[in-house]
Symmetry: C2
Subunit: 382 residues, 2 copies
């Protein structure tokens, strides 16, 4: 079963010109994720993740080679991560569901870096203990709750796994001089020397296997992989491939970014039902009209309505249903409050299940970090 | 028994103005190692190492506080190291004898960093394996041969011990921005990002104990410790103390530096008796006259004669004997060839014993790195 909804492609960010994804593709020198790729992936996977159906994956590097590696039987591996400095929100966790889907479909290894030192080095107000103990542990529970394969997934904290990362990072670091790093990452004189070295650590896992690495991430992470792609083959490895995801907008407006430090912009994975409801009702930017009368007459605008966008991005998986919601909202048949209510229910349903999985995750931490089949192998790696 | 030879202080580098040690003290903002310190150290140690008697230790930071810590019973610890990229020569090993002497006298811990990654990152022609395996092992044998206390000494390779170094290095790195690092270490745009981070690694062991760290080293290493001294107290540790040693000159001339890549400038610890003899006879810069007749008449100049300087620096420990040699050479009674012959014999005697100790060291590598009392503690360190 393959779901690709060709005639249904709402791209509000492009429409509004605030984030022009075609421009990003041009600017970063990547390729658009086109219908040919989608169809081929769909036929290999047997179905399609919502992120492909809804064009959330908008760009890529070398994904056609990943498809080739799948077909040839060589396979590939997935690499993603999280820098722990606070609680995770919806925007942080959703990309992990794409990673999990790819793992399920192709039975591949997933490496998840908990870049505790990165966040510690970046944030003046964050203690070493909070980054490497408190938030690392907290975020790992969230990630495990997504439901990765415990024998094909390795979750590692940089400060714990550094003995294996450092040798690879050194080989990488030797090939990156300050000019290059400065140009690519925008380092300044005030940047600390830990941050300057860190890109070498972040690149190290792309050399965990002598297969192609696939990284699902925001396109803003692309600079890391551009350098990796410049040096990988000279080091006897593959250039890393990537899938680039559109940003899920802030509750407060489609041109804003969710931010942990502004709770009204996001739903945290730990928000309770009342908080979810009150945040969405109060803060979710609405595409509706000023009065019910006007709304019935003129209809709402789903392109700027954040509740609709969140449903579209992830929370209403059913293509027929989301299409109906869009039509009803646009026509004025559905009111903003009703639309918000749908999102509240969807998110609370999602979080109820998530909370339970998160609770169960506590017993799986050691499996994903140390005892699972892949984890064990990685700790024994030379 | 205390040997301090007040009236005997040949300081050829100062005399010649090529290396003005007083100027270095001024430039680096350190303090001269004066008679008061010498006398106090002598009375605490019960005797004096040749480096103090001969003013090879010419400068220091906070050594008066080290003496205070000895007297109060708080104690201190020693930290030194080596970046392995080739065979060690006489100039590399002699400072370790001072460290060993201090350990013996005050029963303190010694931490020896094998900065394998530093050398690897610095040298384009050095492979990762050569730095971290071949030369690291080779140099460790040389260091063990010096005779450190196996339960009070920890030898660690950065690439192996990084799991313990990294957390400390991160805390340090967060306090050093690129401007500061650039100003202090002279980094350029072409410097790789590994080298830029490395100072944080090199500083980490100064925080191994909540006691004062003493580092015997060339004054050229002082920049590392100046930064350490700026940040240590804010991190709850002591500012590191240091002893600065004069350079032992190259065989080929007192204003040159021994260099591994120019074998004629140095005696390697693995040079055999014939090589030692031939290098000294051929290459040791002589302070003698052009002919025997002239030499008998005018006498030699020990200030520029490298053979004399080497005897003075380390190889003729007996103060009365070195004084006699100096007088005989200066008067013309002793010829250059005779002076060289004394050095050949002294070095070959030293190396014969050293070779045997080096052979025995092979069985001690695991003790110093992993199994000795201090090593074990350090691997268990949180």
């Amino acid at each position: 079963m393959v779901y690709i909804v060709e005639d249904f492609s709402i791209t509000p960010w492009e429409a509004k010109g605030k984030i022009d994804y075609n421009k990003l593709i041009e600017q970063f020198g990547t390729k658009a994720f086109d219908e040919t790729l989608k169809n081929e992936l769909a036929s290999l996977a047997g179905e399609m993740h919502i992120f492909f159906r809804r064009n959330i994956v908008f760009s890529h590097r070398d994904f056609e080679l990943i498809l080739k590696d799948i077909k040839s039987g060589q396979g590939f591996f997935l690499y993603t991560g999280r820098a722990p400095g606070g609680p995770m929100h919806i925007g942080h966790i959703l990309p992990f569901y794409l990673t999990k889907w790819l793992q399920e479909k192709f039975k591949v290894n997933v490496y998840i870096m908990i870049a505790d030192e990165e966040r510690y080095l970046q944030r003046d107000d964050l203690t070493y203990e909070d980054a490497t103990k408190k938030w690392a542990y907290d975020n790992i529970l969230d990630i495990i709750a997504v439901g990765f394969d415990e024998n094909r997934t390795f979750i590692f904290q940089d400060t714990e796994y550094i003995s294996k990362l450092y040798p690879k990072a050194l080989r990488i670091a030797k090939k990156i001089n300050f000019s290059l790093a400065k140009a690519v990452f925008g380092f300044e004189n005030s940047t600390n020397i830990g941050i300057i070295f860190y890109p070498a650590i972040q690149m190290a896992p792309t050399f965990f296997e002598k297969r192609r690495c696939l990284i699902p991430a925001g396109i803003d992470q692309d600079p890391y992989w551009r350098i990796q792609r410049d040096i990988a083959e000279g080091m006897g490895y593959y250039k890393t491939a990537a899938l680039h995801l559109k940003l899920i907008p802030a509750l407060t407006g489609i041109w804003e970014k969710m931010s942990t430090s502004k709770p009204e912009t996001c739903i945290f994975l730990k928000d309770d039902e009342k908080t979810v409801s009150s945040k969405i009702m109060k803060h979710a930017y609405s595409g509706g009209q000023a009065t019910i009368e006007l709304h019935r007459k003129l209809g709402g605008n789903p392109e700027v309505d954040v509740s609709f966008q969140w449903l579209y991005y992830f929370f209403e998986e059913d293509d027929a249903k989301i299409k109906k919601i869009e039509e009803d909202y646009r026509s004025g048949k559905m009111l903003s409050g009703e639309l918000k209510q749908i999102l509240v229910e969807k998110i609370n349903k999602f979080l109820t299940v998530f909370r339970e999985k998160r609770e169960n995750a506590k017993e799986l931490v050691n499996v994903f970090k140390y005892e699972g089949k892949l984890a064990k192998q990685m700790w024994e790696m030379e």
